[in-house]
């Protein structure tokens, strides 16, 4: 199969933004934390967009996949810390476990919830997230509500200096890499039959079936892909960066809401959208907290409402319509 490089042009603006973020963070003092936060929001949007944006199904329990990813890393480190010589391999095992666990959860949830549509799906996924959290707490799985704290194990496994570098630098780099990978997979799906099938089922699921599209299969593909990236993100941005995991934090529904806002701000189902949405959301959250501490949400809520009512296609959605028919069309997807 020959690969047409022009198909991947739309990655250029996405990767350019990620590179600029990295360079700003690396070279300007005091900017790394802000860039790390923006990278997290971009990655979150990019990962969630693969399911939410491409299928139109609203997974209100999305954060659960980040939660199990965080647990995956935490369990790998706490259980395997005594095997000396694994070194950085331990992190790789942790990332793999995070992917496996989020895949398994996605399969279980998908089997139940993906039979449902619309509001029923959204409510079912809220149920999964909350149910899973309370199961962990109630049955005292993985230390129950006390959570897992593994600063000491991080230090033991990687040495104090490396553990600190992992937490303050490499975890954020990993988040950027995850965002970049998620963008690549998004574009790859868009350019393959998967993307066309997802567009069809998002617009009209019954018509899609009559056109020969196995909608269940494609929904599951998008669901699992999106879940795996969430699991990785939990492992990197939560477990490695802050080596502890508490059920009420990693299953907090507000992260799902933030992800939805980012996708919507940028433009659901677009490639560049989650990046733009992540930047707008992250920057305004950051600066509002400085300018008007305590009032961020009061200002945010009406803005969100106005955007939903007046600009439902999001920034990149609108931009896409603008550049239709120009050369920019090849870069903005």
């Amino acid at each position: 199969m020959k690969v047409n490089p022009a198909k991947y042009y739309p990655l250029i603006p996405v990767y350019a933004i990620y590179l600029i973020m990295f360079l700003i963070g690396k070279n300007m003092t005091g900017m790394w934390e802000l860039m790390a936060m923006l990278a997290f929001y971009c990655a979150l949007g990019q990962a969630f967009n693969i399911f939410l944006g491409m299928t139109g199904y609203v997974d209100f329990g999305y954060v659960a996949f980040m939660g199990v990813g965080t647990y995956g890393m935490a369990l790998a480190i706490t259980r395997l810390v005594h095997f000396k010589g694994l070194g950085i391999g331990l992190l790789i095992i942790g990332l793999c476990l995070a992917m496996v666990m989020s895949t398994l959860l996605a399969l279980a949830v998908g089997a139940v919830a993906l039979r449902l549509r619309g509001a029923y799906f959204a409510i079912a996924t809220i149920g999964v997230n909350e149910g899973f959290r309370y199961l962990i707490e109630g049955a005292k799985i993985w230390n129950g509500s006390e959570g897992i704290i593994f600063f000491a194990q991080m230090n033991e496994a990687f040495g104090r200096e490396m553990a600190s570098a992992l937490s303050t630098f490499w975890a954020d780099v990993l988040v950027l890499i995850i965002a970049a990978l998620a963008a690549f997979v998004t574009l790859h799906y868009m350019r393959s039959k998967i993307g066309y099938a997802l567009t069809a089922l998002r617009e009209d699921e019954d018509a899609a079936k009559v056109m020969g599209i196995n909608v269940t299969k494609f929904k599951i593909i998008a669901f699992i892909t999106s879940a795996i990236f969430a699991g990785l993100l939990g492992a990197a941005a939560w477990a490695i960066k802050t080596p502890y995991v508490f059920p009420p934090e990693v299953f907090e529904i507000h992260y799902t809401i933030e992800a939805i806002i980012i996708v919507l701000l940028g433009g659901a189902g677009t490639l560049l959208g989650p990046v733009v949405g992540g930047l707008i959301y992250g920057l305004s959250k950051y600066y509002l907290a400085i300018i008007l501490p305590g009032f961020q949400l009061l200002i945010f809520a009406p803005i969100i409402i106005i955007i939903i009512v007046l600009f439902p296609e999001g920034t990149v959605g609108m931009l896409k319509n603008r550049v239709r028919g120009t050369t920019l069309e090849r870069y903005i997807v």
Partner: protein, 295 residues
């Protein structure tokens, strides 16, 4: 001993369940008519709780008289948000309506926080209690329960005996058909949303009569989640289903807590929550029309 405790908790559960049921009717009404899930549901309950608190603590008005005030405020908020936001989203995808109702909830929470602050508050309306032997019921809880039943009955009568109620039912059945038959569908949407919000704010009064403490701007979240479970128990689109769903939920919540507390090495409160969400999933999977519907 354990049976007495269980029986006592079940009585409490039934009383609370009636209030839960009433507190979910608004959610089901709005979903039934507009096909919109109000993710900001709990925030409207919170508004009702603050109305009660403020009337009682600042003006000395007892919670029973807070009911009509809450209803009027709720209707007003309902019409306001319908005409400014929801009306434009009737045909929008779920993503838009879910996020919009969530944002409305946040707006309410933050506004209340701005006015009243975010600390936990409560009020003390002592009017005596009855001792049933196995459990003690303050009259406030009984009033709240009776109030819930009365409101449910009134809503039923209104639905079935008035023209507006009939129009609403016709829109639930088939909005296009109703439009063709000359029903003012937009008007029905507005009225349903307003009544749904009115009921929900009112339920905030009744809930604080049962639990007069822990009132704070962010108290709504857990009620939203409970309301989802209850609404699904009742079939999501049926206000009466929701009322009975509330009774079932109240019984299961209190009954299972008593039983889980007997197990070693678990957290009974969390397991009770787990059970309710497991129930939600099970019902959505095997009987999405709710427990009570025959079909």
């Amino acid at each position: 001993m354990i049976f007495e405790q269980l029986a006592g908790n079940l009585i409490q559960g039934l009383v609370l369940g009636a209030i839960y049921g009433m507190a979910t009717m608004g959610l089901s009404l709005i979903f039934g008519v507009l096909k919109v899930v109000n993710v900001g549901h709990g925030a409207f309950i919170m508004v009702g709780a603050f109305v009660t608190l403020w009337l009682f603590n600042a003006l000395g008005i007892i919670p029973i008289f807070a009911i009509p005030v809450a209803l009027i405020i709720g209707l007003a908020l309902g019409f306001l948000f319908y005409y400014t936001v929801m009306r434009k989203l009737i045909k929008a995808p779920e993503l838009a309506t879910l996020l919009a109702t969530f944002a409305i909830g946040v707006l309410l929470e933050e506004t209340i926080k701005l006015i009243f602050g975010s600390e936990f508050r409560g009020y003390n309306w002592a009017v005596g209690k009855i001792n049933l032997g196995i459990t003690v019921l303050p009259f406030t809880k009984l009033y709240a329960c009776l109030g819930s039943v009365a409101i449910a009955v009134l809503l039923y009568l209104w639905f079935n005996k008035t023209r507006a109620g009939t129009a609403m039912r016709s829109v639930v059945e088939d909005s296009e058909g109703a439009r063709v038959c000359g029903v003012n569908v937009d008007g029905v949407y507005a009225l349903s949303f307003a009544i749904g919000i009115g009921l929900t704010v009112t339920s905030g009064v009744l809930l604080t009569m049962f639990i007069p403490v822990g009132i704070n701007p962010y108290m709504g979240g857990s009620y939203t989640l409970k309301a989802f479970v209850i609404a699904v128990l009742g079939g999501l689109a049926s206000p009466y289903g929701a009322f009975f769903g509330g009774l079932v939920f109240g019984l299961i919540e209190n009954g299972s807590y008593t039983l889980f507390a007997l197990l070693p090495n678990v957290e009974p409160f969390a397991l009770t929550r787990f059970l309710s969400f497991a129930m939600l999933l099970l019902i959505l999977l095997i009987r999405p029309t709710g427990l009570l519907r025959a079909k």
